[in-house]
Amino acid sequence: MSSAKSKQPATGGNDEAQERALIDRSTRMPVLFFFTSSAVWLVIAAALGLVSSIKLNVPDFMDWGAFLTYGRVYPAHMNALIYGWGIQAGIGAGLWIMARLCRVPLRNPVTLVVAGHFWNIGVTAGVLGILCGKSTSILWLEFPAFVWPILLISYAMITLWMIVMFRARRVGDVYISQWYLLAASFLFPWLYGTANLLIHVFPGSGVMAAAISSWFASGMIYLWFVPVGLGTTYYLIPKIVGRPVYSYNLAKAGFWALMIFGGWTGMQRFMGGPLPAWMPAMGSAATILILLPMLAVELNHHMTTKGNLGYIQYSPTLRFTVFGAWGFNLFILLSVALSFFSVGRYLQFTHAVTGLEMSALYGFFTMVMFGAFYFIAPRVTGCEWLTGGMIRFHFWFSAYGIITLVAFMIFGGMAQGTGIDRWDAAFEVSVARGWGYLVARSLGWGFILLSNLMFLFHTLLMSVRLGRRSSTEPTLISKLPDDAGAGISTGAAKA
């Protein structure tokens, strides 16, 4: 069992390793499917994001008729990012983590892959529909009305198998990630179904429909992306540093606080608007209260990793995940700031909203998903990521890209918003003030596109088993120092 190359296994023994290998094997088909298709959608979303951003700088850019007008490219980009990349990446990571934590192999992977195909068909039809002029212009629900039942039914399959796995779990303590992933599985159908039924199938007041769409967008963030992202960080961070989560009670309290407050958020997007005042007020108050779960998570991660964050230098998983965890903190703080009328006066309706959304969707969720990909893919493909250089490229371009994007959109929003607030100056002033920041936005998306082209290439290599198989050492972001045996064992560096 041991050769000159392999080190002593850090696991509890061969049996446990075998069990894990079995579980990994069972999840391979669906996880690889979701990983690959989501990575493709990420490139599409980034490309559409870049095009839409350049159109804000140079309106006549790619002025090839109706297909690429800004009002269609922008929602196509957002929907590709959310439904094409975000949800599929989350499903892939979630399935694997749930299987591992429940210690049961995934039965019936074919159903999941079929569901995934239907999901992709739905998203493709939706994105093409938007570009062809059938967009509903409803916030985060821009897909033409025939798409949502396809997506809902596909996702219901995922929910079903998450529950089945959970019920079949080995007796023992339930870990916090399982609760988070289970919650996301329940809540997406409820959220998505409600929003679509009350807007498309049983339409009522137009203002209430707008309010429901803002509730839906916020619900997607706090009740799907955040739980899946947090569930993933709660798995990956303690796993890699090899320490238990600091306080489980704190983690549970944070979880329930998120569940209780998350559903009330969203309508503060329309504060000061033609809605009963208590509805945006609830949204603002609930968003402020999300500080509670944020504090819980932050404290737990901080205490869990105390003194052990040196691994960030080497482990791609840890580096991406910790970046994402900081992205989460930033996102929550920004969203709290934007809940007040005094701030909204200047930042409502400005680029700051873009910065906020991107900090959640990319700065937090996507970076955490990258961490999950780097951890999970070797375990389901049987080969390691090809080169550390490609991972480095991916990391730095993504990091620079998202920092540029979020920072310049927040500051750009302030510039634009103070211009709009100058009611006695021409509207032109706000456009002129924001323009430079929009150029930085294009730069940010350019970096992100480059980074993810590399990532897609790398992922595709892995999915066809063209990763590195020359050794069982993990692919690290930077080389271990030569005296590796002394402080850090490879077991700890990447795991």
């Binding site: 390793a17 391979r28 238990p244 989560v245 704190l250 402020i288 070797p378 198989r469």
Partner: protein, 245 residues
């Protein structure tokens, strides 16, 4: 597992059905994460209480009574009046002259029954406004005619007319100022714009007059008498003070 088999380190799930030979990435893993039970510091509880107070306080201040019909988050809301603007040069202030004239055109609908849509009037009865210095000259004379009406014969551009013009003092100051501005700047006429404040001053001075004016009474006012206020010139943006009061 034999240490002699060089393929062991390249194990791939495709190549073997045995899960006994397990890939290195799984072997080097640590245990699955588990829960720790550290007690939570009281500072966390304190911070949590602060957050709750912040959230609850915000909700308390802005809930609008939880009333489905109330869209105002501030109790007793009254729209705050527009503050006096700094008004950068060239920036639009309130209504722009174009809009002012367009509105004057609307008010002119009252006048076109007699003076004609093209301002040429009816020969012998209603005088033309085109090229008439009764309207392009003294704004005071013009305002007087509008406010109180005219009766008796009047000579315009050398031609006599004899009709009755009703009093238009029921129109607002703004409407009168708009229609005066319109007449002074259309059909080839050109003259300064008339502001609301100017008409208000005219009304104050002449509003007490009983009955319509006559040509003789109008001629008593000097022909260069302009209503008080800065001259407003269409060409020069810097002369556009508030057209409205």
């Amino acid at each position: 597992m034999s240490s002699k088999d060089p393929n062991l380190e390249k194990i791939d799930y495709e190549e073997t059905t045995s899960v006994v030979d397990v890939h290195g990435s799984v072997r080097r893993e640590k245990d699955e994460p588990r829960a720790g039970m550290e007690p939570v510091s009281h500072w966390v509880v304190f911070a949590g209480a602060l957050v709750l107070m912040l959230g609850a306080g915000y909700l308390g201040a802005h809930n609008g009574g939880f009333d489905m019909d109330n869209t105002y988050a501030v109790r007793g809301y009254q729209a705050a009046p527009r503050p006096v603007g700094e008004g950068a040069a060239g920036a639009v202030q309130q209504l722009s002259p174009e809009v002012w004239l367009a509105k004057g055109k609307k008010v002119y609908n009252n006048c076109q029954a007699c003076h004609n849509q093209a301002g040429v009037g009816v020969p012998g009865v209603f005088p033309p406004l085109v090229g008439s210095d009764w309207v392009t000259g003294s704004t005071e004379r013009f305002a007087m005619a509008l406010l109180k009406g005219l009766s008796g014969p009047i000579k315009v551009n050398g031609t006599p007319y004899n009709g009755v013009m009703p009093a238009w003092e029921s129109l607002s100051d703004k409407e009168i100022a708009q229609v005066m501005s319109y007449v002074r700047n259309t059909w080839g006429n050109s003259g300064s714009l008339v502001t609301e404040a100017m008409v208000a001053a005219a009304r104050e001075k002449h509003g007490g007059h009983v009955g319509a004016y006559t040509e003789a009474l109008l001629l008593e006012v000097p022909e260069d008498a302009m209503l008080p206020g800065e001259a407003v010139d269409l060409e020069n943006a810097e002369t556009w003070p508030n057209l409205q009061k």
